[in-house]
């Protein structure tokens, strides 16, 4: 029976949510294909054991070396391609993270198999893998059926459930070849360590032109702080184009597409290209002075009002609600 290989991404020395979600998605596919879940990971010594500890995989192929403490895309892609060619895999799952989206196509080219990126659901019927993925930044959903094995896919964050923590799989040392590196990643510069990326956060607070200027962003930062570690700031294109906020925070068709559990659109009018980037959020809250703003058409809960009056009250109320358990 064909197995499923999951790329457990290790960043900053640890395998986090992206790796857990990949193993969860791999588990769903393996159940349909009748095989086992194998994980593959690269990092410093101890990476294999750490990934095995996430559960969900019967085997963990670990490429470990000091040099791999910084992710090296070519070395990883070449080793994954060799692993796929030497095994029996019906599907290979990557995370749709910056790293996963960089490596996935390198693997796809090496083995000559198609890759579907940003997958939001996957099914197996009679051994054939069918996936759904957004196109046009979420304005349409494509259904794709793979015509051979393995099916390669990268999964969108916050869509697939992690595996139940179980017994760790066997760690198998994976050979890596430094000679595979055509590019060398020499440094990783992390910005504000406390600030989660908008693409990965489970709660997003986005500000739009209704915030009236970058000097008012402390109000949104206050709400993010009150919402806890899983929350991050987002921004509309208008405020990024105006230079109020960095592009890394932009949500929408020329920014990031997000699907958090909870999305606050504050002073965001809801241009079609912004809606495309956030409409798959599970719960959407819109706060806007203009009751006719298009954002209210996609919001689960709307609050019409002056953001400068509402935000401090909301931040206090969130703090009380969370503090009170």
């Amino acid at each position: 029976m064909p197995n499923v290989l999951g790329y457990a991404e290790v960043r900053d020395g640890s395998a986090g949510k992206a790796a857990r979600e990949v193993l969860g998605a791999a588990g769903e596919l393996a159940a349909g294909l009748g095989g086992e879940v194998h994980a593959v990971a690269f990092g410093p010594s101890g990476t294999g054991v750490a990934v095995a500890g996430l559960g969900g995989a019967t085997k963990v192929f670990a490429g470990e070396s000091d040099a791999l403490a910084i992710p090296q895309p070519d070395i990883a892609a070449a080793a994954i391609a060799r692993l796929i060619e030497g095994g029996d895999y019906g599907a290979v799952v990557f995370p749709a993270t910056a790293g996963g989206k960089d490596i996935g196509p390198r693997v796809a080219a090496r083995i000559g198999r198609g890759l579907a990126t940003e997958v939001i659901s996957a099914e197996v019927e009679g051994g054939v893998v069918t996936v759904r993925r957004p196109m046009y930044a979420g304005k349409a959903i494509a259904t794709l059926r793979f015509t051979g094995a393995p099916a390669l896919l990268s999964i969108r964050a916050n869509v697939f459930a992690p595996p139940e923590a179980g017994a760790g799989g066997d760690v198998v040392a994976l050979d890596v070849d430094e000679g595979d590196a055509r590019v060398r990643v020499t440094a990783v510069e992390q910005g504000d360590r406390d600030q989660l990326d908008v693409g990965e956060a489970t709660i997003v607070v986005s500000g739009g032109r209704g915030m009236q200027g970058p000097e008012h962003w402390h109000l949104l930062e206050g709400l993010v702080d009150a919402l806890g570690d899983e929350a991050a700031l987002g921004a509309s294109r208008a405020v990024v184009d105006a230079g109020w906020r960095p592009h890394a925070e932009q949500v929408g068709q020329t920014g990031k597409t997000v699907s958090p559990n909870l999305y606050f659109a504050v002073g965001v009018s809801g241009a079609i290209q912004h809606l495309a980037g956030m409409r798959t959020s599970k719960v959407i809250v819109a706060i806007n002075r203009d009751a006719d703003a298009p954002i209210f058409n996609v919001a689960d809960y709307g609050l019409v009002g002056d953001v400068f009056e509402v935000l401090p009250a909301l931040t206090d109320a969130v703090r009380d609600a969370r503090g009170g358990g």
């Binding site: 960043r11 910056a98 989206k101 960089d102 196509p105 390198r106 080219a109 090496r110 000559g112 198999r113 198609g114 890759l115 990126t117 069918t130 957004p134 196109m135 046009y136 930044a137 304005k139 349409a140 959903i141 494509a142 259904t143 794709l144 059926r145 015509t147 099916a151 060398r184 990643v185 020499t186 990783v188 510069e189 992390q190 910005g191 360590r193 693409g199 592009h247 890394a248 068709q253 020329t254 909870l262 079609i272 290209q273 409409r279 719960v283 959407i284 009751a291 058409n297 996609v298 689960d300 809960y301 709307g302 609050l303 019409v304 009002g305 009056e309 509402v310 009250a313 909301l314 109320a317």
Partner: protein, 249 residues
């Protein structure tokens, strides 16, 4: 410095998507097509480097239906020297498109192959890496900073919450992200000059896709929401709704 810039013709980001009669494509009726916005960073980078160096050529290559010639002319109007259009119906499989681009690029003399980081229609973010692999070249993606010194390059690439610094030798493939530069608008002079620049059109046949596009559907309409109230007085109602109805707080 000789640069090849691969561009794509895509629907403008303000497009309202309608599904075509085949149930598996965009209905192009009334859609305004533009050069993929991320490709403008690639074009700007190539043209600026050529201008700064005072030598070299910029060739814009695209794959798509004959209407794509308009997008290639736009690249010429910005300042590219030559255009090549590989005419075909296109494919939903990035591997097929990348193979066609790689075989066109192979054998040309170049230092850099630039792409936008992704096309805003299919959002695949794959073709730059695929082309690099097919050509056996170094590849840096989602690049917001690029320094070139002789045959060596250092790129800054955007990752979650920060950047990676990547070093590689030329020739190489680089995909560009907003922040790398500020793309120019074509000048009137540039638009006039573009009409006289060479644009070669070649009919090609793409490889078969490795997966099937079964259907394209509009996303489910959002469930009707409700206005919980007005002003700060409505905040307790909002909190109650998020905690008790939605269970997300």
């Amino acid at each position: 410095m000789n640069t090849i810039v691969c561009i794509k013709r895509v629907p403008d980001s303000a497009t309202r998507v309608k599904i075509g009669a085949d149930g598996a494509s965009l209905d192009p009726d009334g859609v305004k097509f533009v050069v993929n916005p991320y490709d403008e960073f690639a074009l700007e980078e190539a043209i600026r480097r050529k201008e700064d160096a005072g030598e070299g050529t910029v060739i814009a290559i695209s794959v798509g239906p004959s209407e794509t010639a308009e997008a290639v002319r736009q690249a010429l109007a910005m300042g590219a020297d030559e255009g090549v259009l590989l005419t075909c119906d296109g494919s939903h499989d990035p591997i097929a498109v990348a193979r066609a681009l790689a075989s066109e690029i192979e054998g040309r003399a170049y230092d850099l192959v630039l792409f936008g980081k992704q096309a805003i229609d299919d959002d695949n973010m794959q073709v730059p890496q695929l082309v690099a692999e097919f050509l056996g070249l170094p590849c840096a993606t989602v690049v917001v900073g690029l320094e070139i010194d002789g045959g060596r390059a250092t790129a800054r690439r955007e990752v979650e919450g920060g950047h990676e610094v990547i070093e590689f030798s030329l020739p190489a493939v680089v995909s560009t992200q907003k922040g790398l530069n500020e793309p120019r608008y074509p000048s009137l002079k540039g638009i006039m000059a573009a009409k006289k620049k060479p644009l070669e059109e070649k009919d090609i046949v793409l490889d078969d896709a490795t997966f099937e596009l079964v259907s394209l559907d509009l996303p489910p309409a959002p469930a009707a929401g409700r206005i919980v109230g007005e002003g700060a007085e409505a905040v307790p109602d909002l909190i109650a709704a998020l905690r008790e109805e939605a269970g997300v707080l």
